[in-house]
Each structure stands twice: as C-alpha cells, then as structure tokens.
Amino acid sequence: MSELRRDPIIGRWNIVDTDQPAGPEAFEVDNHSPSGSKCPFCFGNEGMTPPEIYVVRPPGSAPNSSGWQLRVVANKFPALKIEGDLGRRGMGVFDLCNGVGAHEVIIETPDHQRQTADLSHEELMAVIKAFKVRSLDLRGDRRLKYTLIFKNVGLAAGASLEHTHSQLIALPIVPKRVQEELRGAERYFEFRDRCPYCDMLQQELDEGERLVCENRSFIAHCPFVSSFPFEIWILPKEHHSDFAQITQEAIGDFARMLKETLTRMRVALSDPAYNFIIHTAPIEFRERDEYHWHLELIPKLTKTAGFEWGTGFYINPTPPELAAKALREAALPV
C-alpha cells in the first residue's frame, strides 16, 4: 500500500510509493515505448492488462478478448489502490494516510497508429461517455472525494506508452490545486453573485482576441493568464459545475470541440507533446453556483525550472493573444 503524506507547511498531499520503491537505477532514461505484439493496449494483448471494468464492444464478443472499440482497465502500476481503509494518522509534526483510491486507464481505440485528434466523431463521443460513466460509478464509494480525468501524450508530457489513452484517478481528498480554485471562485462569487467562469466566457466572447474556436455549447480560448505558451481552455457555455452531469447532446458538442482544438494545436505546433486535464467540482451531490467545469490543454513547449518551482510564478514567453491568433489561423486539413 502506498502512502499519502501531507506537507506540514503548505498542506499539499503527495503520494509516496512505499510498495515498490524506485532506486537510483530506475531513473535511467528509457525512451522506448512498446508497439505491435508488445503493446498492452493493442488487439490480442488484452491479457497483458488487468480485466476490463467498462468496455464498448459488439454484442456477443467475449470480455477481455479482441473486437472492442474502447476499454477501461485498472492501471497495472496504480498510484493508489482501491482496497482498504484510509487509516488517517499523525507522526509527530507529520500527517499521513494510506494510498486508497482508483487509478484507471481509458484505452480510446485498438488502433496503435491513431491519436485522439484522429478518432471519428462517434469514437470520441464514446471516450467522453466513458469518462462520464466511470466518474458516476466511482462516486458510489464514500471514501472518494475527487475524480481527476487527464491525458498525457508524448514523452515530454509524462506518457510512458504511445498508444492513445486517458487516465482517471479518484482520490480520498480534494487536492490542493482544486481547493485553491474552488476557494478563489467562492470569493469571487461572494462579492458579485456571479460565476467567475461565466464572466470570463462573456469577456472572452466580447473581446475575441483570445478566442480559438466556438460551437453551439463550447468555446476554446487561450486564457488571459496563461501559465504556459499555447495553453487552451475549453469552457461549456452553459453553467455546470459537475462534468459527470454532461448531457448526451453536450457530449457531441464537446467531442467536436476537442477534436477541432487538438487538430488546430497539432497543425500550429507540429504535433507537440501535451497534457489535458478536466477540472470539475469535487464529488458531492449539489450544483455549485460559483464553479464551472472546464478542460485545460497544455502543450509541453517549455521546461519548468527553478524559478517556477520556487515561486509558483510562471514565465510565459507567448502572449495568449498571439497564441490564439496562430491557432485560429492554423490551416485545418479538409
């Protein structure tokens, strides 16, 4: 069982792997990602992953065999494990608890060659639906407080396998970064009785210079305070704090928006490594007036160095106005 340890000064929790600790030799650089018969996410290799938790496959085909369209499996090397109690305890000035939680992998397609931007509209809708179904299922577990859905693409963005996949981690605490966001939104709301993201949406639509694209239900824009060059946020136009309540109609529009945004980024930046993260409200059974779920997309173009670690203060070499213009003008494949 891994441990969750809390920084006694700033209150940030970290996951420490006490099960299979990595020694110095574990950090030798390995740039090799398995493919073909070695890739655990390809057809025929279903036995290389833990059994499927959720799957889209034609009726009649056997579980954990080939023929599927999308598979969700437990991570083979999970950061957190689903069994056991939290066991919160103290140790002198320190606080810790057991590493309880869920860590799942969403294998978006059996095709090793395709990336998320290459998926058909229907396939991408199935991916988003899988995010929703898994989020809803995990909220039955009372130990869990937050579900984070994210994707790492490319070695620079922390992906160890190149076969396209996203991940879901459900945590027994609300992480610090999310708490900060929630608190900031609460403060803004207290003062104005409006959701800060709804205000942001309106200002960005009015000004237009940071807008990347827009459809019936979503906008994509480069935030005024981008920490990274070409950072993009996708915001739903309608106010909702909880991603998991997304409607079937909005899933379709979200799939279109995600595909267009990823394609524009790929064209403008020659296929960069990237991360995306869905920011949503903690697991709770209410709608928050002050919070608004959204997706943050960060191409990995710069390196985070001492100044950023020391201050939490980012240096962004590309004004978001310029980034948005380049993304708007990217020539999309017909």
Partner: protein, 351 residues
C-alpha cells in the same frame, strides 16, 4: 515591457513576455544543444559578451569587466523582467495586471568552464553565496520589490538552456509569489497554535528519527523531506533558527558552502550526474506597507532553507491538475542511498 497578469481564481501571477514573444515556429526549431565551450559568454576573457558587471569578486589589480575575477554578477542577457519603470497596476475587465518590473541577475560561479556546481571548490561556492547575499541586500533597498528568489538550474531538463557554465540566478519580483505566501501562512498558523517554529520542530523530530537524514554538519542539516514531491528531493536546513538567509553568520556560511558541495557530490555520484533545480526559501522583504504588524511574528515563525530537486521524473497531467505529486521513491530510501554514497571526504573549508 513584459506584463504581470494575475490569475483571477487562485491568485497566481504569471509573467507574460510581450516583446520577445515566441511564435509557433520558435518552439518547433528550438533545440537545447549545448553551446561549445569556446563560445561560452561566462568564461574568463569573454566579459564583453555579457552586460556590464554589477558586482565582482576579483584580484587586486584587475579592472572591472576584464579578466581576473572569481565570481561575477551580471544582468541577465534575456531578462524576464525589466528594471526600469513603475508598476502601473491596472484592470482589464475582470482581470488584473501590471508592468513586468523587476530584476534578473546571473551569478557566474567560476571563471573556468565548469558546468556542475558540484565540481567547483568550496571556496568558489562560498564566494558565490557571499556575492548572492550582497546582491539580495542591495535589491531589498528598492521599494518596488517584495521578494527575491535565488535559484539554480543545472542540465537541459532542468531548464539550464544552452550555456553550460555553472551559475545561480536572482529574480526580484514586485509581488510575493503564491508558493512563498503559502509557506509563510502555513508557518504562521503553526506558530499561532504552538508558539514554536514548525521547521525547528521538524528538525528535532528528524534528527531523532534519523531515517530521512542524509548528513549533518556543524550548522546545517541535509535531509529528504517526509512529504517529498520528487524522488531524492533534498532540503538544506540551518540548525540555528533564522527567517532570513541574509543574516547568516560567517562561520555558518562557510559550513553551508561545504555542506552544499558535499550534497551536490553525493547526488552526482548516486544518480549519475542528474539535472537539478535548487532554490532558496527565505523571508520576503519586510518594508512596512501601512499594514502595522504584518510581519509581527515572521522572525519567530519562519525558518529559511534551501530546496534541491533532481529532475528524474516528468510532471504530467495528474500533477498539473491536482498539485498532488506521485513520488516513486520514499524519502527514507532516498536518504539511505545518499547517506551511503561513497564520496571523497570534502576538504575543510579553511584550506
């Protein structure tokens, strides 16, 4: 003029470089190949290739901006903030911003072309820390600045860029950065509760438990923190309680230089010369700003220290999204490897 923009939600400031703006093509063609030593602007004899020196520790008859120095401080060739002008705080709709005023200086730690600070002498390290203290004290006199960060990037992965010549950097900012504020608030809260310094308590607990201690010297403890975010993350903590690095005593600074050298050599040995970042956490500038009692307990509640982070893992979506880190190496294991590393005994600082 670069801009400082404030995140309306979490209050984090970001520096947006509006002048040397990078376009998509700059990222596509940018590569971090090392600049050959023969082109290094930080080597002795090439002083004309940097901006004019602000401070130098040099031998008797050498003239400024010429050879003959041991440590040299110059403004950054590519400063992220500009020293001229006023802050010009303003709003744009729901957003807050101000002009990117600040200072960005480079402390060149050796006249010869050495890339890793682990390979320079204790005397050189000591001199570069002395130069840093002098510069921080000078920047503190500028009422526009609230904080100065001293840091060091080694290796391309850690953001050191193409010039492979050991140096540290100073960036003075007109706002107290979020990460620093969090620490100050955490320390103050603990003090309010217990009337003791959290880091002093932590230090005595760690010295007793021993499992996370790498080594201790006369005035410094080197340890792997309990809630390490990264494998082999390290802290250098002064034994004597003090909130302000600038107030370090001469014998403590000598001891720190020698401990610093030793820990860098251990890291280099155990992890095969890894890239790293190193940063100083010290109290912000304490100008009175009409808020009486704002820094009332900081002398008692805050304890300066140095963080050293080897860059072995990559920060991915989970960490960005949650501020929650996954560390594959428990700090007890890291400390054991570093403690047991065979290092030549570091020579005494007084050689």
């Amino acid at each position: 003029m670069p801009e400082l923009r404030k995140d309306p939600l979490i209050g984090r400031w970001v520096i947006i470089a509006t002048e040397r703006a990078k376009r998509p093509v700059d990222f596509v063609t940018s590569h971090d190949e090392a600049l050959p030593a023969s082109d290094c602007p930080f080597c002795e004899g090439r002083e004309a290739e940097t901006p004019q020196e602000i401070l130098a520790i040099r031998g008797g008859r050498s003239g400024s901006n010429g050879p003959g120095w041991t440590v040299r401080v110059v403004p950054s060739i590519k400063p992220v903030l500009r020293i001229e002008g006023q802050l010009n705080r303003r709003a744009k709709g729901m957003y807050d911003l101000m002009d990117g005023v600040g200072a960005h200086e480079i402390i060149i730690e050796s006249p010869t072309h050495i890339s890793n600070a682990a390979d320079i002498s204790i005397e050189q390290l000591h001199a570069s820390l002395q130069a840093s203290i002098a510069r921080i004290a000078d920047l503190e006199r500028d009422p526009r600045f609230r904080y100065v960060l001293w840091f060091k990037n080694y290796g391309s992965v850690a953001g050191a860029g193409r010039v492979q010549h050991t140096r540290s950097q100073l960036i003075a900012t007109p706002v107290t950065p979020l990460r620093v504020k969090e620490e100050l608030v955490g320390a103050r809260r603990y003090f309010e509760d217990k009337e003791r310094c959290l880091v002093c308590d932590l230090l005595s607990q760690e010295l007793e438990a021993k499992t996370r201690i790498v080594f201790e010297s006369a005035h410094t403890v080197v340890l792997c923190p309990f809630a390490s975010r990264f494998p082999f993350e390290l802290w250098l903590v002064p034994k004597r309680h003090s909130c302000d690095f600038g107030k370090i005593r001469p014998e403590e600074l000598k001891d720190l230089a020698s401990a610093f050298k030793q820990v860098l050599m251990r890291l280099k040995g155990v992890l095969n010369d890894p890239p790293y970042n190193c940063l100083l956490h010290t109290a912000p500038f304490r100008h009175e700003r009409g808020k009486a009692g704002h820094w009332k307990t900081i002398e008692d509640d805050y304890h300066w220290h140095i963080e050293l982070i080897p860059r072995l893992t990559r920060v991915a979506g989970f960490e960005w999204g949650s501020g929650f880190y996954i560390n594959p190496t428990p700090p007890e294991e890291s400390a054991t490897y570093l403690r047991e590393a065979a290092v030549e005994a570091a020579p005494a600082a007084t050689h």
